[in-house]
Structures are given as C-alpha cells and as structure tokens.
Symmetry: C2
Amino acid sequence: IPLNRASRCSCIKISHQPVNPKSIKKLEVIPKSTSCPSLEVIATMKNNGEKICLDPETEMIKNILKAFNKKRSKRSQTPREA
Amino acid sequence: IPLNRASRCSCIKISHQPVNPKSIKKLEVIPKSTSCPSLEVIATMKNNGEKICLDPETEMIKNILKAFNKKRSKRSQTPREA
C-alpha cells in the first residue's frame, strides 16, 4: 500500500505474499533517500492497478526480474529511433 | 526518453551510457505486454527528474539493484504498520 511521497516512505505495509510476475504491470524500485530510510519495491498489478509493496530482502524480486527477462521474446535489440 | 504509454512502448530510445546508481531516484521495470513487445527499464534521475530508458540486456540493471541494496543501512526490517 503505497502512500503519497510527502509522508516519508511510500510503503506503510509490506506484503510478504508471493506475487505472480505475470500479474505485474510495472515494478518500481525506489532507493533509500533522505525522505525514506528504506529501499522500497512497489508492484503495480495488471488486473486492478493495485499497488503492492514488496519486501526487497526476499529472493522474490530477483525471481520477478528473471521472469520478466524470460518472458521477453527473441527479437531485434535495435531501439526505435526518436 | 519515455513517451506516453499510448504510443506502444514507453521508450523510443535506449541509453547505453553508464548511469550512477546514486543519481537514480526511482527505477521502473515494465514487463513486455500487448502494448509493447519489450521489457523496459526507466530510470528517473534525482537532479532534474529526467527519465532515461536503460537497456535491460546489460549487467547495469543488476549492478544498480545491487547498489540500491548496498546503500541500505542496517536497520530494523519491521514495516511501519498502517
């Protein structure tokens, strides 16, 4: 449950439930800063846009990132030009 | 340089310049989807809020995440309760 940035940290509660990487629309990683002493990881879910704070300590984050890479198809690496 | 989501992908150009993890305010990881066939990694910079698209293929992302973890101080892992 992320809060407004004005209130120190974005996360007030961290979910320890496993999250299916396929259900994640976007993953935000916010390094610790003067406004928040913890590294924060926020997953935005595909189905309802719900934001869930994940525990950066767990292997889950690594697994999610790994799954993201796996899901990527073999394609040209050429970026679209502006 | 991320674009509006309406235009297929967020990134139209990917920076291959090394980025200092300490200069990053937020890192967004967007898995490939029906609207964009590529995994996208967008770094928001601390100084000017500029958004830079990074190449998810490189080790840089891993190094950034590693640096984020290193920067985290030894602190209580107890999340703030809502």
